[in-house]
Structures are given as C-alpha cells and as structure tokens.
C-alpha cells in the first residue's frame, strides 16, 4: 500500500516537473520597444567578421534568411542587398554598418535592420580534441525610430555532445589534428554557422526575437501551442 502511494506521487511529481520545463519561457529581455515596433520586414546587413576566416561574413549571411523567415518576417534578398551596397562603393561590412539608418530605410524600405558580428568562426586545435565553433552577436534596430529592439548572441560547436571515448592519448591527438585539417578543408564552419544562425535568430527561444507577422505564432510569444 505504502509502496503504491509513493509510485503515484513520484509520477505526479515527474509529470509536473516535465510540464514546468516546457511551460512559458521566462523572458528576461525587455521587449517593450520590440512590442511597440512590431517590424514586419528585416534588412540583414553583411555581418562583421572578427575572425581569421574570410568565409565568415557570407557563410553567416547566406544562412540568416531561414530562421528569420520561418519566424514570420520578410527578409530582404541578401544577394541583392549585398549587390546594392557594392554598386554604391560599400564593400566592407564595417562601412555598411556605419550607414545612417535613414538612408537604409529610404532605399530598402525595411522596418528593421539586423547588425551581426561574427566573433568566432573556425576550427581550433586544442591538444586532445579539435573543435569547430561559430559565435555571433546580433542587434535588431528599428529603421523608423532608431531604437534597439533586440540584441542577443549565440554559439555552436562541433564538440557538443561529444563523448570522448577511450583510446590511447596518441590516437586522440592524431584524430584531433586530422579532423582539424579535414574540418577546415570541408568548411565545416559553414554547417556549424547554420546552427549558430538558427540559435541566434529563431523566434521562440529564451531571450530570442519575437515572432513576426507572417508566423502563426505572431503575438503569441511565450505561449505553448496545443496542436
């Protein structure tokens, strides 16, 4: 009798713990500016590259449209935007990031602009294992008011969930060096950058951007959907 009671309470406790885990996200970020602005369209500027890998800017830029569009925003075509800047003599992200927002609003007509800074991109050899990591920060600025709507950062690594199984030390070292060379050649950074981009820019994450007008979750941030 006692045993059965405790099983029942354990099940109830477990159930409520699991539920609590996926209930409404506690947002610490102050979204008041975001909620007032409610941008429908986002202009993503070519990301700043603060890494030794020249691929970082376009690797990131080519993967931002998906998380933003799926979160319900119109994303201006990144290739045409880049081309428009180039044709006006703006070739570096640093120059582009300095442009007055009034000009950006005038030409592109977007409600908000996303300024991204890639801080880490690439494979590093760290004694026993090598790791490919991409880290980026983002800032969403309203092009109509100049207000900052959101800022955030995200990182992703090939080493996540890696259980370094046994094997001799020499074996591990060789494996690390080989995988670093292979990863760099294959531009594994690009695949990892895709994960970073999604973590940075997909709505519905803690302290992430809010859903946009084209999403079925628009205005329902923080509430679970029951399908």
């Amino acid at each position: 009798m006692k045993q059965m009671l405790s099983i029942k309470w354990t099940a109830l406790l477990l159930g409520s713990l699991l539920l609590g885990g996926c209930a409404t996200q506690t947002k610490n970020y102050d979204y008041s500016a975001f909620r007032e602005s409610r941008p429908a369209s986002i202009l993503v500027l070519p990301p700043l590259n603060n890494t030794p890998d020249i691929n970082a800017t376009y690797s990131m830029l080519s993967q931002v449209t998906l998380p933003l569009a799926e979160s319900g925003y119109y994303v201006l075509p990144v290739t045409l935007v880049d081309e428009a800047f180039k044709q006006n003599g703006m070739t570096t992200p640093a120059d582009i990031h300095e442009l007055p927002i009034k000009k950006l609003r005038e030409i592109f007509g977007a409600d908000a602009a996303l300024y991204i800074n890639v801080k880490q991109y690439g494979t590093s050899y760290a004694v026993i294992s090598s790791e490919t990591r991409v880290t980026a920060e983002g800032q969403l600025i309203d092009l109509r008011s100049g207000r900052t709507l959101w800022q955030g950062a995200a990182t992703a690594s090939s080493a996540e969930g890696n259980n370094n199984s046994g094997g001799g030390l020499i074996g591990l070292l060789v494996k690390a060096v080989v995988s670093q060379i292979v990863d760099t050649l294959n531009n594994r950074g690009h695949a990892i950058a895709g994960v970073t981009s999604t973590r940075l820019l997909a709505a519905g994450r803690p302290n992430g951007i809010l859903y946009g007008p084209r999403s079925p979750m628009y205005l329902k941030d923080g509430s679970p959907t029951l399908q």
Binding site: M1, M4, I7, K8, A11, L12, L14, G15, L18, L19, C22, A23, A40, S41, N55, Y58, S59, L61, S62, Q63, T65, L66, A69, E70, G72, Y73, Y74, V75, L76, P77, V78, T79, L80, V81, D82, E83, I107, F108, G109, A110, D111, H190, G204, R214, S215, P216, M217, P224, T225, L226, Q227
Partner: protein, 122 residues
C-alpha cells in the same frame, strides 16, 4: 483490485503528461516555406563557385518542386532569381521575377520598385 486501479491512474497521468508535453514541444507543424537548396545556392553565389546559369537551373527546379507540392518559396527567392536572369541578359524574366517577389511579399515593394526603376526607367 486496488493494484490495477492505481496502475490505471498512473497510466492516465503518464498519458496526460505526454499529451501536454507534445503540445508544447513543437511550435509549428511544418515550415512556412519550401527551401530546397536555396541557401546553399546563395552561398555558392557569394563564393563565386556557382555561375548564374547553374543557379538558375537549380532554382527553377526548386520552384517547380515547390509548386508541385503547393508550397511557397521563401522571401528573396524570386528576387535572387531575377538578379540571375539579369546577369544572363534575360531582362524580361528579371522584371517578371521582381514583380512576382513584390506580389508575394508586399513588404518588399520599396526595394523592388527601386530595382525596377533601374532596369525599366520608363
């Protein structure tokens, strides 16, 4: 008898919990857009590894697959296709695709009109 009653209750709790869990596990049933290899094509474009003709072939194929499934292509897809057509001298298809982007996404109007004016200064 009391054993099976408790077991039933446990089962009910488990089922209820998992139903609620699955309800808040996913936010969306399916993606809003059909992506195909659009982003890979864009990256190939930026790196200069894929020329316009090759990209046009890829994207038109993706567009057909999307249409066959009744799915929409993402923001920027048709605009990028327009630019590619411009690069191979097909200004008719360029204009057609810019207009299509504008129609699918009215949010793009300012930028699309800006581009259309450059190619169609009438």
């Amino acid at each position: 008898m009391s054993i099976s009653e408790n077991t039933l209750r446990l089962c009910a709790i488990a089922l209820f919990s998992s139903a609620l869990l699955s309800g808040c596990a996913t936010h969306q049933q399916q993606p809003l857009y059909y992506w195909g290899d659009y982003q890979a094509t864009v990256y190939g474009h930026f790196k200069g590894e894929k020329g316009p003709e090759e990209q046009i072939l890829d994207l038109e194929k993706t567009l057909e697959k999307a249409r066959a499934q009744g799915r929409a292509v993402p923001p920027g897809f048709k605009a990028h296709l327009a630019m590619l057509y411009g690069q191979v001298g097909r200004s008719d298809r360029l204009i057609e695709n810019l207009e299509a982007e504008k129609q699918q996404f009215p949010e793009s109007t300012t930028f699309m009109d800006f581009l259309l004016k450059k190619f169609n200064p009438s």
